[in-house]
């Protein structure tokens, strides 16, 4: 089957900083991909380029066979790629329910005339309620978004990204700012909801246990380059990944030990 997303030779420089260097990725339908890399490795830059926030300096991005390089985010969203954010982007003065209603209303709008229809319609309200349940935030239905706990805000951000019923969803650090105990609960909710919706997922993550648990494939970034593209069972014991990615993460020590068992080398002193 032809890939749903095809990134070919993209580069991005900010002055002297190279944030993306000859990145080539081909994503198949329904894949769940984890994007890992130390701070500043270029993960968010990659997400920003695929979703149109940044235009690559060179290279091309194809979605479902169609060139979307340099297209505006709103057009890419309409085509079927959506995203969440490292810092949740919600409508802070509106309630959780209204956040979803406004998002649904906008996503459904295709012309000025359809935009003039009342926002409060039975159809939209039902969909908003469904999303509240699916992302387990119905307890916070009438809470104003600025008052939400971090985990709920993250879930709302993801639910809002899903209102357009995208075919690809990019999540930028869905578990950042969440306590270790809550991370798995949050990811369980997210991943089962996304399975239900049938969407291809790429998510940026610093926690290797999460990566190991949820993904089919890992893209490891280092200084703007993909240094490893493999299933987690291989990627997480790859020496380069261990040195340049995992070494910097909190669970680095544990992962190095695991890797040592796999490779039998026992060398854990580097990085």
């Amino acid at each position: 089957m032809s890939p749903i997303l095809e990134v070919t030779g993209i580069n991005k420089t900010f002055g002297a900083v190279t944030a993306a260097k000859d990145i080539n990725v081909s994503v198949a339908n329904d894949e769940i991909i984890g994007i890992i890399g130390a701070n500043g490795a270029g993960k968010t830059t990659f997400v920003n380029m695929v979703t149109g926030w940044l235009e690559p300096t060179t290279g091309s991005i194809k979605f479902d066979g169609r060139d979307i390089t340099g297209m505006a985010p709103r057009r890419i969203t309409r085509l079927g790629i959506s995203r969440s954010f490292q810092v949740a982007q919600v409508f802070s003065t509106a309630t959780v329910f209204d956040n979803l209603m406004i998002a649904l209303g906008i996503a459904e709008t295709t012309s000025i005339l359809s935009a003039l229809r009342p926002l409060r319609r039975a159809g939209l309200e039902q969909r908003a309620d469904l999303l509240l349940k699916r992302y387990r935030i119905d307890d916070y239905r009438d809470a104003v978004a600025s008052t939400l706990p971090q985990g709920v805000r993250k879930l709302l951000d993801i639910a809002m990204a899903m209102v357009s019923e995208p075919r690809i969803l990019l999540l930028d650090e869905p578990t950042s700012g969440i306590s270790v105990e809550e991370k798995f609960d949050l990811m369980d909710i997210v991943m089962s909801a996304l399975k239900e919706e049938g969407v291809t997922v790429l998510f940026v993550e610093h926690d290797m246990e999460i990566v190991e648990r949820y993904v089919d494939r890992v893209l490891a970034f280092y200084q703007g380059e993909i240094i490893c593209d493999a299933p987690p069972s291989e990627a997480l014991i790859d020496p380069k990944v261990i040195e340049f990615v995992i070494g910097d993460e909190p669970q680095g020590q544990m992962m190095r030990e695991k890797a040592a068992l796999h490779t039998g080398s026992g060398e854990t002193s580097d990085a």
Binding site: R75, Q89, V90, T93, D98, A107, A115, L119
Partner: protein, 321 residues
């Protein structure tokens, strides 16, 4: 139908009908004329309310107020057209049209830059009018007696009553339409754009277009208000129609009224008009002191404007779409 179920529309209809009937049968002429002036300004404030809900404040809407006023006046002077069913829609269209053109520049700016860019444009118009001798420079010129369905009014008192009923009808219609708009998806984009432009773009809507549309709407409403003002005063001049103090007044009344309801501009505007009249009587040289003091009190104690008192009295929360 859903129009009848909408409490705000029912309230607006009863309210405006009551005000119209009271005016025709009970109110003295001086109060009628103050209400006409207040409601003309309220139409402009309604336009600013749409922007304010989007998190935008314009310090230059006298530009559109003046465009509306001068459109009405010039149609009479140069084309002999004094039919209000032509002049007032023309005022609305001219202001909306200029708003549409300038909107391409203005929609790129936010906050103080948005406010000041509007001010700059309004000062350009002010400058042009002051320099144009054929339009009476700083003195301006007088507006032809208006007609409705081709019929003029014989006495000043009759003219006042017709204008009064007219502004009640137009005010009601504008309030209902803006209310419906605020309840629509486009209306909800106000909250959305104010809170988070990035999210709006990532939901598939152009923030620039959303702001542009709202800007045109506010310009058109302000032009309509200016057109009414020209008819009510019977005279246009740069100082009272286009000067930056006029823009300031509009912002003042917007804050005084509060963003909570489309009825607020009408109530706030009437309070402002009466406040200014009484302040001038009490302190002829320093009425600004009283009016300014009132604004301070509003900002400190009633950030939701006078509407928040009313909505509290009715036991409702602020009605945000």
């Amino acid at each position: 139908m859903d129009m009848i179920k909408d409490k705000t529309i029912v309230g607006l209809t009863i309210g405006f009908a009551a005000v119209a009937i009271l005016g025709v049968f009970v109110m003295p002429d001086w109060l009628l004329s103050q209400t006409v002036i207040a409601f003309a300004r309220a139409l402009a404030v309604l336009g600013l309310l749409v922007l304010w809900r989007t998190g935008l404040v314009s310090f230059g809407h006298a530009l559109y107020f003046g465009l509306g006023a001068y459109t009405v006046a010039m149609l009479g002077r140069y084309f002999g057209i004094s039919e209000v069913l032509i002049t007032l829609p023309a005022a609305t269209l001219v202001a909306g049209g200029i708003g549409f053109v300038l909107g391409f520049v203005i929609r790129r700016y936010r906050e103080i830059f948005f406010a000041m860019l509007n001010l700059a444009f309004s000062m350009v118009l002010f400058g042009i009018l002051v320099k144009t001798e054929s339009l009476g420079s700083t003195d301006g010129f007088s507006v032809e007696q208006p007609t409705l369905f081709g019929i003029g009014t014989d006495t000043a008192s009759n003219k006042l009553v017709v204008m009064y009923v007219g502004i009640c009808v137009v005010g009601w219609l504008a309030a209902v339409l803006v209310h419906r708009y605020l309840q629509s998806v486009l209306g909800s984009l106000s909250t959305a754009v104010r809170d988070n432009e990035i999210r709006v773009e990532y939901l598939g809507y152009s923030v620039a277009e959303a702001i542009h549309g709202k800007y045109v709407m506010s310009a058109a409403l302000t032009g309509l208000g200016g057109g009414f003002m020209a008819i009510a005063l019977g005279q246009v001049d740069p100082e009272s129609m286009v000067n930056w103090t006029v823009s300031g007044e509009l912002v003042f009344v917007t804050i005084l009224s509060g963003p909570g309801s489309v009825a607020a501009p009408f109530i706030g505007s009437l309070i402002f008009e009466l406040l200014r009249t009484y302040a001038t009587e009490i302190l002829p040289q320093g009425w600004q002191l009283i009016v300014g003091g009132t604004l301070l009190l509003i900002i400190f104690f009633l950030p939701g404007g006078v509407w928040s008192i009313i909505s509290k009295a009715m036991g409702r929360k602020e009605a945000e779409p």
